[in-house]
């Protein structure tokens, strides 16, 4: 390389190392904040255009499936109307019983946010269109519409926030199996998650649900994480481990819910 290019290379290399190792420095954080604010309008415009385009592309390619599912949904809808009537009756009874027994209703306050940016070819983190001005703060929990844990807020700027998903290697969740009540720790492996630190003499069932136990004081209790895919037990290991099958594709959704308080 020419001398000029070498100088450029080493200056930029140094800058990269400064950003990596002093990423939490106030000046760098402030610079990143302003950069995010500049990028935001572009991200909002492109994500809206993308969502519109992908919606119509998927609608055109799946028109036959849509017709079939529409007729199926109409018949299912009638069935649900009947169930809904029964449910409202049960709800009434339930609230009466709760009142009598003095039990407080578990009320979760959530906020809906749209995904406006993602990492290239991985699902470790993504950007959402809600930030500090909407009451979003660092460490808030992000869930999908089916109450499945997606991740946690790791950075909240004024208008946008960054979510670190459970796939990230820095994600750790205290978890428990739903039926056999075996405790362990969910760890992100980058592209997958694992149920680690299972006591040697205990083996969870394959297909069993794993939910957050809340014992770590970070993640709320009772949210679904995934189901057991395979259990690994080796004689030379102190703990058993299990592969977890995620119940949602972290690339598939366009919106998520943030738990504001419990």
């Amino acid at each position: 390389m020419a001398k000029n290019n070498l100088i450029i290379f080493f200056v930029l290399l140094l800058l990269s190392l400064v950003i990596i190792f002093f990423g939490q420095n106030q000046i760098i954080l402030l610079f990143k904040h302003y950069l995010n604010e500049i990028l935001r309008p572009f991200e909002v415009v492109f994500s809206k255009a993308g969502n519109w385009l992908f919606f119509w592309q998927s609608a055109v390619f799946n028109i036959k499936n849509i017709k079939e599912s529409n007729s199926r949904l109409i018949s299912e809808n009638l069935d649900f109307y009947n169930k809904l009537a029964r449910l409202s009756q049960l709800e009434e009874e339930n609230s009466l019983l709760r009142e009598k027994m003095g039990l407080a209703q578990k009320n979760i306050n959530t906020c809906l946010a749209n995904v406006i940016g993602r990492d290239f070819q991985n699902n470790r983190s993504f950007l959402i269109n809600k930030g500090a001005k909407d009451g979003i703060a660092v460490n808030m929990i992000v869930i999908s519409k089916d109450n499945i844990i997606v991740g946690r807020i790791v950075d909240a700027s004024y208008n946008t926030s960054k979510v670190r998903t459970i796939l990230d290697t820095q994600s750790r969740i205290a978890a428990i199996t739903a039926t056999s009540k075996i405790s362990g720790l969910i760890r992100g492996l980058g592209s997958d998650i694992i149920f680690d630190l299972i006591v040697k003499d205990k083996q969870p069932e394959i297909g069993e649900m794993v939910v957050s136990s809340g014992t770590d004081g970070i993640w709320p209790r009772g949210f679904i994480i995934g189901k057991i895919k395979d259990v690994k037990s080796q004689d030379n290991q102190i703990f058993n481990t299990a592969d977890i099958e995620l119940l949602i594709g972290l690339q598939d959704f366009n919106s998520v819910f943030i738990i504001l308080n419990e």
Partner: protein, 170 residues
């Protein structure tokens, strides 16, 4: 218009385009099935036309801007693209000479494979440094995404050079 004014306008335009490109990558390409890394393509193009200093600067800036959407990789994206640009400049100077179709093919393969390898290496070391765990190389290579990325990178670079040649002939 004097030269300083022109330079200022050009610089503002380039910065605007880079930010728009980063926004497009983060919020359109990464959300879609298109497995394209636009800044990698830009770097490959600049290396092929021997615009080495621009390749280094745009690689770093591209990595830095697109790194804003990631958490684990903050700062690492720019380091990966910068080293990739440097390696490709040396590789291109020693092994390949003119931007022929064959060269586009080889440099695209080298670029995409090296990008994923360097990403795995730097993200892996950073994770090892912070959490003590090292990631599996397979998750960076053993997926269909890399093949689509490779094909689309070759296709897009070929289109750019074809277009450039046609413009040159006119």
């Amino acid at each position: 218009m004097n030269d300083d004014y022109k330079k200022f306008l050009l610089l503002t335009g380039v910065v605007f385009l880079l930010i728009a490109l980063a926004g497009f990558q983060i919020s359109f390409v990464n959300l879609s099935f298109l497995n394209l890394n636009l800044f990698l393509i830009l770097v490959l193009y600049l290396v092929l036309v021997k615009n080495n200093s621009k390749a280094l600067i745009f690689a770093w800036l591209g990595g830095f801007l697109t790194g804003q959407s990631s958490f684990s990789n903050s700062g690492i994206n720019s380091l990966v693209l910068l080293i990739l640009a440097a390696v490709l400049i040396i590789f291109y100077k020693t092994a390949l000479l003119i931007p022929k179709t064959g060269n586009i093919f080889f440099i695209s393969i080298a670029g995409v494979a090296l990008y994923h390898f360097l990403n795995w290496l730097f993200v892996g070391f950073w994770t090892l440094f912070k959490t003590g765990a090292f990631e599996n190389l397979g998750s960076y290579f053993l997926n269909s995404g890399i093949l689509i990325e490779l094909a689309s990178t070759i296709l897009l670079l070929s289109i750019i050079f074809k277009f450039k040649t046609n413009i040159g002939n006119v």
